[in-house]
Subunit: 152 residues, 2 copies
Amino acid sequence: MAELTTSSGTRISFTMRIAQIVFSCSSLLFMSLGVEFYGYTAFCYLVTVMGLLIPWSFTLAVVDGYSVLIESPLRQPGIQMIIIIGDWVLSLLALSAACATAGVIDLLPQLKGFHCPSSLCSRYQISAIMAFLSWFHTAASALLNLWLFHSM
Amino acid sequence: MAELTTSSGTRISFTMRIAQIVFSCSSLLFMSLGVEFYGYTAFCYLVTVMGLLIPWSFTLAVVDGYSVLIESPLRQPGIQMIIIIGDWVLSLLALSAACATAGVIDLLPQLKGFHCPSSLCSRYQISAIMAFLSWFHTAASALLNLWLFHSM
């Protein structure tokens, strides 16, 4: 039952961090490479949030990976609380950015002087889907940690 | 300490439900009265979510009000769990609707054939702000209930 007293530093947590990194990087790359995202506030916001989420998840993935290697899950309540708060804040930011992006993508064809080739529009859509998946994994981490934190 | 073992059926919970109703109704009215909201998916989504949030908060406000009157907070774990899940789902929907609306409002002046008098644009903005406030109170209820549920 050692796996269930706290999530950080376990294989489950490590897997979720890797998923967050993969989806956040995909979202960032699909939005920023070869596409003029900086003309729209929502797209800039998405890029900023993903730029915050990637180093956060990467740092925690390294910590979790090290904890898995030395077979000693994190148990310090102070660090756990910081991880929970950070996860919650970033998951809310990721959800808000993904929703704002989805709302804007829906309106793109109606914009003045906007020409949207299907390849361009589909890249924006894939970026939004990846942002939603990234949010889902961050929120799952946060919820699991909050739930298990109480059991410590 | 009776107030701290569970939030539902207490004065704190009742106050938060009233705030949710006030902000949700304001958001719905500013968006739907005299404004052509149905042309934009994000605005229709906001109206739908607020249409779900109002009866939910109203029902729980009645339950909380009754519990406060008879001075007996709710303590059934099953009902508590349903309230927590409902609050979480609705708070996420409210946040996503508010963010999509905010993203769309930012783009309105650039739309083809869209004329935006300041009174109309400011109504959309007020509606989005009210939706954010409604989300904040629903999320606070959900977080408080989830935290206290573990203490039962």
